[in-house]
C-alpha cells in the first residue's frame, strides 16, 4: 500500500485550470519532492492532498484511506506544514503544540513530554511561554514544524518549508526532515530550491501549468533531461570572456570569482584550458567539472512545456 495514491486529480478556479488530471503515487518511507515554477499548481495539489480543498474530479487515498470518504481517519495519519508557517499568534509556542497534539488523541503526559522534547530539539525551550505573534519568521516556521511533527505522523506534508529562512533555521528544517524520515515517516515536500530537492528527495515530480511532466529519481531526471556538463575554473589573474574561445564551449558565465564553462565535452575543455593557461602564463586556483544538474533538467522540462 502506498503512503499517497492520488488518481486523475483536477481542480479549476473559475475558468483557470489549476490542476489538470494529476496522478501521484508516493511510496511509504520515501521523500517525495514536488517541484514546479510559480503558479504551476504545487500548492493547489498539496491542498487537495491534505483535504483543505475538494477536487473537482479524482480520488485521493492516504495510507489506503479515501480522504473524501473518511477525512478524519486520513488526516489522523498526516502532519502538515502549510506555506508561510502559519500558527496561532495569540497562543504561546507551547500552547500551539499541545493544542495540536490533542487532535491526535495523545494523552496529557505523552503530549507534554513530546512538546518539551520538540521545543528543545528546535531550540525554542526558552521562548515556550511567549506568544507566537512576538516571534520572527524563522521561529514561527519552527513552531509550525513542531505542530506538524508532534504526533509523529506517518506522513508529513511540507509546503515550501525553507522559503525565506536564514541558514540556521533552514538547517534545522532539513535536519528535522531527515530525522522524521529516518523514524519512518513519508515526506511530501514542495520547494523552489532545486538543490535542496536534489539533496533530500528519493523521487521528484515536476509540475508545470497544472500537469505533471516528469516523475523519477533525481539522478534519472538529470540523466534523461540534463545533457550539458560544465567546467568551473578560477585564475589568480584577471581574465575576460574572450579567453574562452573553443568550438566545444556552448556557453560561458561569470560566477563570482570563477568562470563556468558549459560544454558537452568536459574532457576536451579541461585540456584546452590547461593549454590556454600555459600559453598566457595564467595560474589556475581551482578547476572542477560537473555533470548535468537537476536545475538544468528542471529548466528544460518547464521551458519545453
Amino acid at each position: 500500500m502506498e503512503a499517497i495514491e492520488a488518481n486523475n486529480l483536477s481542480k479549476s478556479f473559475g475558468s483557470v485550470t489549476a490542476v489538470n488530471d494529476v496522478s501521484i503515487s508516493v511510496k511509504k518511507g520515501s521523500i517525495f519532492g514536488f517541484l514546479g515554477p510559480n503558479g504551476a499548481g504545487k500548492t493547489t495539489v498539496i491542498r487537495l492532498l491534505t483535504g483543505v480543498l475538494t477536487p473537482d474530479t479524482g480520488s485521493i487515498y492516504i495510507g489506503g484511506v479515501n480522504i473524501n470518504n473518511d477525512p478524519l481517519a486520513a488526516k489522523m495519519m498526516m502532519g502538515v506544514i502549510p506555506e508561510n508557517g502559519t500558527v496561532y499568534g495569540d497562543l504561546t509556542a507551547e500552547q500551539n503544540i499541545i493544542w495540536t497534539a490533542k487532535f491526535y488523541g495523545m494523552d496529557r503526559t505523552t503530549r507534554e513530554q513530546r512538546a518539551q522534547e520538540i521545543l528543545s530539539q528546535l531550540g525554542l525551550t526558552e521562548r515556550k511561554n511567549d506568544l507566537v505573534r512576538t516571534f520572527s519568521k524563522g521561529m514561527r516556521q519552527r513552531i509550525s514544524i513542531a505542530c506538524a511533527i508532534v504526533p509523529s505522523p506517518p506522513l508529513l506534508f511540507l509546503d515550501e518549508p525553507t522559503s525565506g529562512l536564514d541558514v540556521h533555521s533552514r538547517r534545522l528544517v532539513i535536519d528535522t526532515i531527515h530525522k522524521m524520515n529516518n523514524a519512518g515517516s513519508t515526506i511530501f515536500l514542495t520547494t523552489h530550491n532545486i538543490e535542496e530537492a536534489n539533496a533530500l528527495c528519493t523521487t521528484i515530480s515536476i509540475i508545470n501549468k497544472g500537469k505533471i511532466i516528469a516523475t523519477d529519481s533525481p539522478e534519472q531526471l538529470k540523466k534523461t533531461y540534463g545533457t550539458t556538463h560544465y567546467v568551473e575554473i578560477s585564475f589568480r589573474q584577471s581574465v575576460t570572456e574572450a579567453l574562452f574561445k573553443d568550438e566545444s564551449i556552448s556557453r560561458v558565465e561569470r560566477w563570482g570569482d570563477k568562470w563556468r564553462i558549459y560544454t558537452n565535452d568536459p574532457d576536451h575543455v579541461v585540456k584546452y584550458l590547461a593549454q590556454v593557461a600555459e600559453r598566457d602564463h595564467l595560474s589556475i586556483i581551482s578547476i572542477a567539472t560537473s555533470g548535468p544538474s537537476l536545475e538544468e533538467a528542471f529548466l528544460q522540462l518547464t521551458e519545453v512545456a
Binding site: T44, R47, L53, M76, M78, V80, T86, W99, F103
Partner: protein, 248 residues
C-alpha cells in the same frame, strides 16, 4: 466516521476559539458593551418599570453576546492564514462550524447568566418558570451563535467587512423584536414585522420565563428557534462547503 475523533475536534475548535476570540476588541464592544449601553440609553431617566422591560433586555444581551464571536473567527483565521492549518488537522467542516457555534453559545450563556443572577439578587426581579428560563438561554444561545457563524461564513479575509455585515443584520432586529416595546403593546405593521425576527421568539420565551406574560405559547417559540437553528447551521455549511470548492 469515528465519532470520538469528531467530538474531540469540535471540543478543540471550541477551546481554541474561547482562548483567542473572547478577548478580541470587536467581541467585547459588540458583545458586551453595546447591549448594556443600548439598554441604559433607553431606560435611564424615563421612569420605566424595569420588571416589564427586563426580559427584553435579557433577550438582547443573549442575542448580542452569542452572535458576536462567530462573525469574527473565520475571516480572522483566513487573514492570519491559520484557517488552512486548521483544515489540515483532523477536523471536518462540521467540526469547525459546531466549534464556532459552541464558543459563541457558551459566551452568550455565561454573560447572560451572570447578568440575570446579579439583577435577580440585587433588583429582586421575578422568576415565573426556571425550566423555561434554562430552555430560553440554551435555545437562544445556540440560535444566535448559529447566526454569528452564518454571518462569518462568506468568503473574505477581512474581519471588518464581516463586522459591518453583522451590524447591518443584527441592529435592525432589536427594534422589531419586542425589546423596547413589549409585544403585547405592538399593533398593525409593527406587530407583523416582529413575526419575521427570530429574536421575537426568544424575547417572548424570556417574558414567559421571568414575568409569566408570554404572548405566544412556549412550544411555538421553541419550534421557531429550533427551525432557525437548523436553517442557520444548514446555510453556514452550504456557504463554507462552497468556499472549500471555490478555494476562497
Amino acid at each position: 466516521m469515528d465519532l470520538a475523533i469528531f467530538a474531540r475536534s469540535v471540543t478543540l475548535v471550541t477551546e481554541k476559539n474561547m482562548r483567542i476570540y473572547y478577548y478580541k476588541g470587536a467581541v467585547v464592544i459588540f458583545g458586551l458593551l453595546f447591549p448594556f449601553l443600548m439598554f441604559f440609553t433607553f431606560f435611564i431617566g424615563r421612569n420605566l418599570d424595569l420588571t416589564l422591560f427586563f426580559p427584553g433586555f435579557l433577550g438582547m444581551m443573549l442575542f448580542f453576546t452569542a452572535s458576536s464571536v462567530g462573525p469574527l473567527i473565520t475571516p480572522w483565521e483566513k487573514r492570519e492564514k491559520t484557517y488552512e492549518r486548521l483544515l489540515s488537522l483532523p477536523v471536518i467542516l462540521e467540526s469547525i462550524i459546531l466549534g464556532d457555534l459552541l464558543s459563541g453559545a457558551i459566551f452568550g450563556i455565561i454573560i447572560t447568566l451572570i447578568v440575570w443572577i446579579v439583577s435577580a439578587v440585587f433588583l429582586h426581579l421575578p422568576l415565573a418558570n426556571i425550566g423555561l428560563l434554562a430552555l430560553a438561554l440554551l435555545l437562544g444561545a445556540i440560535a444566535f451563535a448559529a447566526l454569528g457563524t452564518l454571518l462569518g461564513s462568506p468568503a473574505t479575509d477581512t474581519p471588518s467587512n464581516i463586522m459591518i455585515l453583522s451590524s447591518l443584520v443584527r441592529f435592525p432586529l432589536i427594534f422589531v423584536s419586542g425589546i423596547f416595546i413589549p409585544l403585547n403593546q405592538m399593533q398593525g405593521w409593527e406587530r407583523v414585522l416582529t413575526f419575521f425576527s427570530p429574536l421575537t421568539y426568544l424575547v417572548d420565551l424570556f417574558y414567559g420565563a421571568l414575568n409569566g406574560t408570554a404572548v405566544y405559547p412556549p412550544f411555538l417559540d421553541v419550534l421557531v428557534l429550533v427551525v432557525v437553528i437548523l436553517l442557520f447551521i444548514g446555510c453556514a455549511k452550504i456557504i463554507q462547503q462552497r468556499n472549500l470548492v471555490t478555494g476562497n
